[in-house]
């Protein structure tokens, strides 16, 4: 009886462990699946307001207009069909409220019952027309032609230079400013954090006395445990005003402020990982260098750093990863202007900050909502690539140390 029971309980535990493992892996897969399912839903959707149609005269050869073109037409930046691949005719923009310029109120009718017919007449009689109106006023036997307007494609999404998801009449969903903002802020962060972190790691692993190390290391690790909102407060109260004063700017909320905060946040990662890598340098190797008359500093930069270079690169890349995914602190200090940055001293907006700031306002399942998920996908891919690079680097390290 006893051996049977033992066998059974062991099987039971094994089964439980397997279930836990499976659930975890499944969760990860599910998260990725739903993220991409929602995110990819943004493509081939129309950026024009829901329920609206865009009509042109049948003789018009233009087949599609991008969301950006629509905006430019409304802003009178595009005035000729030629710019859209059509004839050399100026565009006559027609909105529903323009109907009163063409017809009297009696013709329209009290309850707009005359509208479908009149719209039909307008579109049919003016060859240069570009008409926006609600689909419900679309009459039977409509003589105009609907064109594909404001369709969101890969190129308009990734190449678009404007992020304005609530714009009328067409939402502008270009992720370029956000991707650029993220990259600028993260790059700035790593440029600040890497030299500082590396210097601190060298100090801790090679120069600091044991006593100093025992105090400093936990202190640095403590940095990693501070909630990011607290970093954000610190940035808002200390760094933002300092930048404003130092560079004489109208506002201190700039990419630089984000970079500094993210740099500080990436420091513990960079320091602890590269310090561990450096401490892994065999003592005999350092002694061999010193025994040849090399100074301590020569030993550090000719032996310790080359030996631990893969660990150091992994630290740098993980630091970047931390910076790219960070949301709260960045949201608080970067100023969040969705404009393609030309200098680090401008307000910027990062991908995670955008998602956090806008998700609450985006209607469930709508275009904006899906666009934010698509942003999440971009972020996911960036961090995945970063992790793969780390994996690759630390993998090649193992091969080297045969």
């Amino acid at each position: 009886m006893k051996p049977f029971f033992k066998n059974f309980s062991e099987k039971l535990i094994e089964g439980l462990l397997m279930i836990c493992g499976t659930i975890t892996s499944l969760t990860v897969v599910l998260i990725v699946f739903f993220l991409f399912k929602e995110g990819l839903g943004v493509f081939n959707k129309k950026a024009v307001e829901e329920g609206y149609v865009v009509m042109v005269n049948k003789s018009n050869p233009v087949n599609s207009i991008s969301p950006e073109d629509i905006k430019n037409i409304f802003d009178s930046k595009i005035t000729s069909w030629k710019d859209l691949g059509g004839k050399n005719d100026s565009i006559i923009l027609f909105r529903l409220e323009d109907i009163s310029n063409y017809f009297t109120d009696e013709q329209i009718g009290e309850n707009f019952e005359g509208l479908p017919l009149l719209l039909n007449r307008v579109v049919d009689s003016i060859p240069q027309i570009l008409a926006f109106f609600p689909e419900k006023y679309l009459g039977k036997n409509f003589k105009g032609r609907e064109i594909e307007a404001g369709k969101i494609t890969f190129s308009t999404f990734f190449g678009g230079k404007e992020w304005f998801p609530t714009a009328q009449p067409a939402a502008q969903l270009g992720v370029m400013p956000l991707v650029m903002g993220t990259l600028w802020v993260s790059l700035g962060a790593i440029l600040l954090a890497l030299p500082l972190g590396l210097a601190a790691a060298i100090f801790l692993s090679e120069i600091a006395k044991d006593k100093v190390r025992r105090v400093m290391k936990p202190l640095i690790e403590l940095l990693a445990g501070i909630p990011s909102v607290v970093y954000g407060f610190f940035g808002l109260v200390v760094i933002v005003p300092a930048i404003q004063k130092l560079f004489n700017l109208p506002v201190g909320e700039t990419g630089l402020a984000g970079s500094i905060i993210l740099g500080i946040m990436a420091l513990p990662t960079i320091i602890t990982i590269s310090e561990d890598a450096m401490r892994n340098t065999p003592r005999a190797m350092k002694e061999a260098s010193l025994a040849l008359g090399a100074s301590k500093w020569q030993t550090i930069y000719k032996i310790v750093i080359p030996y631990s270079i893969s660990g150091i690169s992994a630290a740098a890349i993980l630091g970047i990863g931390r910076a790219i995914g960070e949301t709260m602190a960045v949201l608080m200090v970067t100023g969040n202007a969705a404009v393609i940055p030309t200098s680090i001293l401008e307000p910027m907006r990062t991908i995670p900050a955008t998602i956090a700031a806008e998700l609450g306002e985006a209607p469930d399942g709508g275009l904006h909502y899906k666009a934010l998920f698509a942003l999440g996908c971009i972020l996911f891919i960036i961090t995945l690539v970063i992790n793969l690079i780390v994996e690759f680097i630390s993998g090649s390290k193992k091969n080297r140390r045969v």
């Binding site: 005999a284 061999a288 025994a291 008359g293």
Partner: protein
């Protein structure tokens, strides 16, 4: 004149007394073997001559350690320069993560030599000295980790010799090597004797008997006996030495 000398040397790791009143004089161009059971202080003693023990915190030394008549622990001694005079070979082969060529050239480079031709010549002659040239001449640019353990150790000896020290300190240089590699290193020691003063720590009695001119037996931090190798191994003065070399303890 004696090349190396220690006068009333006491050495402490924290509160533990690792070397007790060691007086020893080593002549130039001889091989001296330091033998004794593990933890007897022989490695600690060896590492006094290039001040490697300085790297360990909480240590203390009294007495004088002398190279060429100079107390190397007196104030004002440049430790980096001192270490250029003494090459060291370690227990396990520990080449740098660099090419074979750069391993040997390292000592020259860190000492500020930039003349490319000079470095190339010195690397070649040194590798030839350790009888490794024929095995590596076609792959000098390859990583030193691609060599076998025995080859790596000979490379490490070449690395130590490239800066032309007058003393070579060897800390159990063959303990990680196979018998064939070991005999190659031993032959090398024999040849190097004409140019260098060699001190070798070893656990291997036969090796001590084969390669050394003088042998020092350490036990529990004390120098029990020092003398000509032949005499130590055939007719030691102290009974403890007799017991150790015949394998009765240790």
């Amino acid at each position: 004149m004696n090349k190396l000398e220690s006068k009333q040397v006491n050495f402490y790791y924290g509160s533990s007394h690792a070397l007790k009143d060691i007086n020893l004089a080593i002549e130039a161009n001889t091989v001296t073997a330091l033998i004794g059971p593990s933890g007897c202080g022989k490695s600690t003693y060896l590492r006094l001559f290039n001040r490697m023990n300085d790297l360990i915190s909480d240590t203390r030394l009294t007495g004088e350690v002398i190279i060429d008549g100079v107390n190397i622990y007196k104030k004002g001694i440049n430790v980096d320069n001192l270490r250029k005079m003494t090459g060291m070979v370690f227990q396990k082969p520990n080449p740098f993560p660099k090419s074979i060529f750069e391993n040997v050239a390292y000592g020259l480079r860190v000492n500020g030599i930039t003349d490319k031709k000079f470095i190339e010549e010195r690397v070649e002659t040194t590798i030839k000295q350790v009888v490794l040239w024929d095995e590596v001449k076609d792959k000098l640019k390859k990583s030193a980790f691609e060599l076998s353990g025995g080859q790596q150790q000979r490379l490490c000896i070449a690395r130590a010799m490239a800066i032309q020290p007058s003393v070579i300190l060897m800390d159990e240089p063959t303990s990680a090597l196979d018998p064939i590699s070991t005999s190659k290193v031993e032959e090398l020691i024999h040849e190097l004797k004409t140019k260098y003063t060699i001190v070798i720590v070893t656990h291997n009695m036969q090796q001590a008997a084969r390669v050394s001119d003088h042998t020092a037996f350490f036990y529990l931090g004390e120098l029990v006996e020092y003398g000509v190798t032949k005499q130590i191994f055939t007719n030691p003065n102290v009974e403890r030495t007799q017991n150790y070399i015949t394998g009765r303890f240790g």
